[in-house]
């Protein structure tokens, strides 16, 4: 059972931690760094609640060992907005359209959508569906989540005409 000293950047802050090889990135974030917005659901890659961005790409933090993240830049929900500041457009979209009910799956979905919109600011319905398909939500039926994503697209593009809100 080997232990390793790793250095990684989480939400712009560098951390150096001593970790057992078997520690997952999710457990590192939650239990060592106290970043508990990243939720753990199934812990084998199916539900998507633990999704974070690893070097800009969505990653299941339960399917990534902390040691694999040596040198990586991680973004979690906590890094999207200042606690006292404005919400990130994706968070604002979820707020406006009530894209959640219990909220357990929301942090992972928000991070996936952040990545999607940074890659494609105006995604097709199919692209949105493919992204949301990687997340289990047992409350909403996804309709409000899709509306929230559309709202986030609109907010990011800077067009604020309410007439444009369709779908």
């Amino acid at each position: 059972m080997s232990t390793h000293t790793i250095t990684l950047t989480v939400n712009g802050r560098e951390h150096t931690e001593e970790v057992e090889a078997r520690l997952t990135l999710a457990d590192l974030l939650r239990e060592r760094l106290d970043l508990t917005a990243t939720h753990l659901g199934c812990e084998h890659g199916v539900c998507g609640a633990c999704t974070v961005l690893l070097d800009g790409k969505p990653a299941r933090s339960c399917l990534t060992l902390a040691v694999q993240a040596e040198g990586a830049k991680i973004r979690t929900l906590e890094g999207l907005a200042d606690p006292e500041g404005e919400l990130h457009p994706v968070q604002q979209g979820f707020w406006e359209k009530h894209g959640m009910q219990c909220g357990f799956c929301t942090p992972g979905i928000v991070m996936s959508v952040v990545e999607l919109l940074e890659r494609d600011p105006d995604p097709s319905d199919d692209e949105i569906a493919a992204t949301l398909g990687g997340h289990l939500c047992r409350c909403t039926g996804y309709v409000k989540i899709r509306e929230a994503v559309r709202e986030a697209v609109r907010l990011r593009s800077g067009s604020h005409s309410p007439q444009e809100i369709r779908r």
Binding site: M1, S2, H4, E20, A21, R22, L23, T24, D27, E43, H44, G45, G48, T51, L54, K57, P58, A59, R60, C62, L63, T64, L65, V67, Q68, E70, S112, A130, T131, G133, G134, H135
Partner: protein, 287 residues
Amino acid sequence: MKPPPFDYVAPPSLDEAVAVLADEDQDSKVLAGGQSLIPLLSLRLAYPDVLVDLGRIDGLGSIEHADDTVVIGAMATQHEAETSHLLHELCPLVPEALANVAHPQIRSRGTVGGSVAHGDPAAELPAVVVALDATVRAVGPNGTRTIAARDLYSGMMTTTLREDEVLTSVEIPTVREGSGSACVEVARRAGDYAMAGAVAQVTVEKGTFADTRLVLFSVSDTPARIDAVERALTGAEAKPEVIARATAAAAEDLDLLADPRVSQDYARHLAEVVARRALTTALERSA
């Protein structure tokens, strides 16, 4: 912590990785993207002594055109292959099949080499490499060797790779003029493992099938090349009704894996449907 205790090494070179794998005193396992292995660890279905992470070895992630193949480095992610212009143009079956692999958030870390070497009988990539007569390259203590994909899968999640070998690349033959391919599967939910799936590639010359490939996955313990259909179609008139006759006849004789979630009758029905649809779509695309 869910996974059992293990050691971890991330060697900077293939030689050092192979040296760890060749150490007979410890049970080692190669870690590529981890999207199958880490769940197996967390479910405590796998108990290796040491994980050998390939993630710090340079040069294993390229996708390049070489002669009449596209060479995909083992550590190229499934996302990179799915969005590769080279593969879309020269091996379109690869990106099409990859779109069915789990979810984008998994394909961003899951690797081509990992999926091919893991050999899950329900996975798309092993079926694709068998259908396209791809070749895999592996490095071991005695150097490099190539293995025909058709000889790679020896049983349920078992390959002919030796325990001290690392799969380093997959060479996919480029598509020929007059060819079309397709991947069709039926799964309960998008991104789930298929209950039955098929990949097909046909080449049509002067109205007849000059070459036919059909592989079913998720129906037996390895990707199953359906020789009966390939033989029946090659040389026959390139028409959907000819395909339908051949797939109906072959489905009767399929040796199906027992699956508690899918009855034998339903599995046989699905196998026929996906085989017919994959071949018919491949035929349409060959025009």
